[in-house]
Each structure stands twice: as C-alpha cells, then as structure tokens.
C-alpha cells in the first residue's frame, strides 16, 4: 500500500527473504504453509520480517506450478459474461458456487464460451476444475480444456461428465396444468432459445427446433405440450414465439407484437419459459391497460426475486439455482460424489395466474 507505483519494483522473493534471515527457503515456505513444521519463535520472526520487507507470501504462480494446483475453479458460461452477470438465474448459480469455493479456500475464475476471437493459448487451463453452465455455442471451447481435470455440466450434458439439472419437464407440466385448470380461450407459449437458427418472434413451420436433450427449453416445451394435450388442446396449433436472449430489451419487441394483436387473436394465457420473459409481458401489459390476470394470465419459470418481491407477484416455478451452484462446486472440489443430479422445483402460485 505504501509503495508508490514505481517502474522498477524491487520484487522480493522467498529466497531473498531466506537469505536476509539466514534461514533456508524451506523454513520460509513452511512459515507460510505449514506452521507445524517449525518453531513458533522462528515462524514469528519470519513472518514479521516478511511483513517488514513487504513480502506478502509465496508467489501463487510459482506455487501453483510446483504443486500442480491453483485453488482456482473456472466457471465457463455459455453466454457472454455481460449477459450472464446481469441474469438473475446465472447470478444465483454463481453465488452458490462462490459460496462453496470461498468456504474451502478456492477462488472463482469467469470464462465465457463466447470469447473474443483470437484468444491465444488462454489462461483457462490454470484452473483445477471446470463448471460449465449451459449449452456451449461450440464444443471446441470444451475440448480445449484439459481433459484430465474434473468438469461438471450444469443445465446441459457433456459426454462422460456428471451434470446437475432441475426437473424441467415435470416443472413446466405442473405449472401448465395449474394454468389450464381454468381453460384459456387462446393459450400461447413464449420459448427461450429453442430454434436452431436465431429467431426473435413467432415460430413458424420454417423453423427447426433444437433436438430434445440438447437444451432444457425443449424439455420445458414438452411439459407444456403434454399438459395442453391432456386439456384438449392440439399442441401443434398453440402459437409459439421464440426469444433469443433473456433480457428486457430483446424480449420487449416480440412481446409488444403479441400484445398488440387484435383482441380476438391476442392470447389470454401466456406460458413463458423464464421469469424475465413473464415480467416483460407483465410490464408491457400494464402499459397497455391489459388487465392481469383478468384479460391475460401469465406464468414464468425460475422464481427469481424480482418476480416475487413486487406486486402483482409472478406465478412461476422456482428452481433453486443457488443450490445448483453449491452442488456443482462441491462435486468439483470432491466434497460430493461426482454423479448426475436432478433438483426438484416448486410451483409458486402468485397473482399473475391465480
């Protein structure tokens, strides 16, 4: 803190410190890493001298090379970091991961599957393990990671690697069943990233959907469709829209177009694949004087705080993203057996679809 930002920083090393003190480098190392390997007296002397000379402990680069471990766990996010950091669900996942890593002396490195192009060799392989969140735009990102280190997939699958999921299909089946208990005239579905090629708007026959098993949104759709069929609707006839990115800005135009349909075409129930989508529907409906739930019922998915700490409260399905993160982190650290996990969700009946 004291030292100014100088051009020739007198970087002091463990060896310098040992020399200065007239002890071996082993003792200095032990003073920092294994207190039981030397006398408290000597340890004290070493630490105080270190502090005096501005030596703040062994260099992490050298230590990680020597020990083969960095105590860093990387989280690889399918989306851009900018998006992920501002998405409530991703943030909760990261919070759960960070909580466990922190408790166990590890730190969190953020990587994106949508990096800037060039990206030379990359510092990714400094990490001791990888938690991969969401369907990667390219599998190359993953194959560049060192295969011998542990890797956990969250919300999608990687060959031979354990994954952590929530029960997407039962969850969306449950919420759709709840919504359909009082029959809508014109149900509609707003999907999230479900088409093979980008589509931000109505899904038509032109579009190919991602294959089941590839994305969780396909499972959510299956749950909706099954419930619709059971309630006498022909699933294929229920209109669907697609949203490319789970942000207000990207959702808004698609939803505006839906809400601006003539009264006799406008859906009176919208099953949304995320709370972000549902909240955007809610805001735009309020702006238009469309009454929720009288004229339009809305359901979400995720159970984020923003949908609950407000009025009207969102009817949704809560997934415990924090716990998802904790489990993934514990598996990476070897505190929990590395095997596929499936978390349960909880139906929350709010005001937007009582």
């Amino acid at each position: 803190m004291e030292s100014p930002v100088s051009h020739a920083p007198p970087r002091i090393t463990l060896k310098d410190l040992a020399l200065e003190l007239g002890v071996s480098t082993a003792s200095v190392s032990n003073a920092f890493n294994r207190p039981d390997q030397l006398s408290p007296r000597l340890r004290e002397r070493i630490l105080s001298e270190a502090s005096r000379l501005g030596y703040s402990g062994p260099d992490a680069k050298a230590r990680s090379l020597r020990t083969g471990r960095s105590r860093i766990i990387a989280v690889v996010l399918a989306e851009t970091l900018t998006y992920s950091l501002n998405d409530a669900v991703a943030s909760e996942l990261l919070a759960g991961i960070a909580e466990v890593l922190d408790t166990h002396g590890h730190t969190l490195l953020l990587l994106s599957g949508r990096q800037h192009v060039s990206q030379a060799p990359g510092s990714a392989n400094i990490a001791d393990g990888f938690i991969v969140y969401g369907l990667m735009p390219s599998m190359k990102v993953l194959s560049d990671l060192p295969a011998e280190r542990p890797m956990i997939a969250v919300d999608f699958d990687i060959n031979e690697r354990p994954s952590v999921h929530v029960d997407n299909e039962p969850a969306s089946h449950a919420i759709a069943t709840h919504a359909l208990a009082s029959p809508p005239k014109r149900p509609g579905i707003i999907n999230l990233r479900l088409t093979e090629t980008p589509c931000n708007g109505r899904i038509t026959d032109e579009h190919t959907l991602l294959v089941a098993g590839q994305t969780i949104t396909r499972s959510r759709l299956a749950g909706f469709h099954d419930a619709l069929e059971k309630h006498g609707f022909v699933a294929a006839n229920v209109p669907m829209w697609n949203i490319e990115e789970n942000t207000y800005e990207v959702c808004a135009p698609v939803i505006a177009a839906i809400l601006d349909l003539p009264d006799d075409e406008r859906p009176d129930l919208l099953l949304c694949m995320s709370d972000r989508i549902a909240l955007t529907v809610l805001t735009l409906a309020e702006q238009r004087g469309i009454r929720v739930p009288e004229d339009l019922r809305i359901t979400g998915f995720d159970g984020i705080a923003e949908g609950q700490n407000r009025g009207p409260r969102l009817t949704t399905v809560r997934q415990n993203s924090v716990e998802k993160g904790r489990i993934a982190a514990r598996m990476i650290l070897g505190l929990e057996t590395r095997e596929d996990r499936m978390l349960h969700t909880e139906l929350i009946i709010g005001d937007t679809c009582p």
Copy 2:
C-alpha cells in the same frame, strides 16, 4: 472430452510433444505463441500432432511463472460474493470490467474482502492487477496484495492509487432538489451502510456516522442535506434510517416499520440511497394501499433496470456502472492513463416522484 476421469491421467507436456515430433521445445512453444517464428508447414504439423495427442496448449501455470504475467485480473469486492453477484450495480460493474478484459485476452478472478477466515497464502497474487470495489471491511485485505502491481479503487479511495467515482454529492443534490420543488410535509432519508457500527433501522444520536471521504453514502447524504437546508428544512431534524445490506430481505423490515407509522408521522417523501431500497419502499407501499406518488413520493439512486422496466417507474439518478467498470479495466490494462476519474450521473424523472 473423450478421456474418462481416470486416476492416473497421462498428462502430456510441451517437452513430450517436442520429443515425439523430433523438434525443439522452442518450436512447439512458438507454434502456439508466435506463429511468425516458424514455417506454416511445421506449425501445422505441431498443432495437429498436439491435437491428436490431446495436448491442449502450454500449461498456464508454467507460462505465467515464466513470463511473470497471468492475463488474469482480480476484482476484489468489499461485500461477499453472494451479495455482490446478486446486486444489480455490482453486476453491471463486473459486466463492464469483463467486457474489456475479454476483448483484450484477459480473464476475471473474483475475490471477496470478506473471505472465509483461514485462507492460507491465497491465490490472489496470481493476478496481474487488481480492481477493488467498495470500502473494504479491513485494509489488511489490500496490504496482502502485491504492492508493485497496478490497483484501481472504485467507489472509494486507496492511498496513492487511482480511483473511479461518480459525482455522488451533486447527483443526490440534484434529485433532492427535484423532489423538494414541491414541498413535502415530512421528508425522510433512508441511508445505506452509513453508521460506524451496524444499524438496521432508525438512526439516533447514539449512532456515529462514517467519516466523510470514507464512504460514498456520506457524500450522498451531504447532497440531500444541502438541498434540504436550501429548501428551508433543518437537516438535523429530518429523520434518517439506515440499511445494513442492499437486499430486499434486509430492507423490508426497516421500511415496513416506517410505512406502518401513524399517518401523521409517516414521511410523505423518502429519499433513498439506492434503487433497491426505493423499490422495496414501493412494493411495501403498494401492499399497504399507500398511493405513490400521491401519499408518498420515492426517489432512488443507481438507475438499475429493475426500477425502469416496470410500472410505476422509479424516479432516480442513473450512474453508468458498466462504464465505471470499463474505465477501471482499461486503466488496469494500461489502455488508459491511471488517474482519478469522476463520472457524471443523469437524473431520471419517473413516476414515483414526478
């Protein structure tokens, strides 16, 4: 990807690869790092053999030791990671930082000033530079960081280090002036982390406030007080409450107590130091049938999306947290001169205090 999680991973090194190919280690290194240092033919041969043998590039631990640079920038957050990741303002800052780092081939390591206790030597000093966000609970966190590497303070100050701020005092002066243009009967202020000892509720004479210059909320308070005095109020008589953590859960009880005051004691204008606080006031007011803005006017601070993409829209001051992050990141990378910066804010007149 193929290889199973085995117990004895046949970790291959650059040297092994060189041996296998019958070339020098320098050539292999150059194949990955400096394409111009060898023939395209040889480079191709090296890369394809590497790929065949499952060598995914030079080990980052060794490279960072050798070069002295890790291409990792650490962000040290004053709050817990769990809190910071779920806070909109912190997330925007991180997004701005990540955007710039990503563009320039760097990655982001998250550290917290409120770590788990023991935390041995720590991997913090693996980073090439440090962006420190918010007043640290203890300065020890900072003095443990290597002093010779660049460090930027955001939203607070560190001796001898450049800082990035927004114009807190003018901003809160401006929004208070706007609010006071139509005179309230009973104005009140809800502060954020302003007391020396924790206080979640009404601030009384018992409490000592943090010193000016130590925290941005003190500057915000100065702006409020100055505007109040100019409008004929005795600042010292305006009731103040304090919130310990900028989350709905922590805000709610304090705000509930304020709103449940008898009608003739309840403030009719609440100047809040964050949008999170203001939004919580809004939600709890709606639940109680208190009309906003007729019975109660509310102002926020930050300009987060959640306060704007909804109805009624929050009246607030927008700070560009993303840009704050971008600037800090550019300074750390040496893309911008390392000097104190002050960003301007923008008054947003929403529906909660027209």
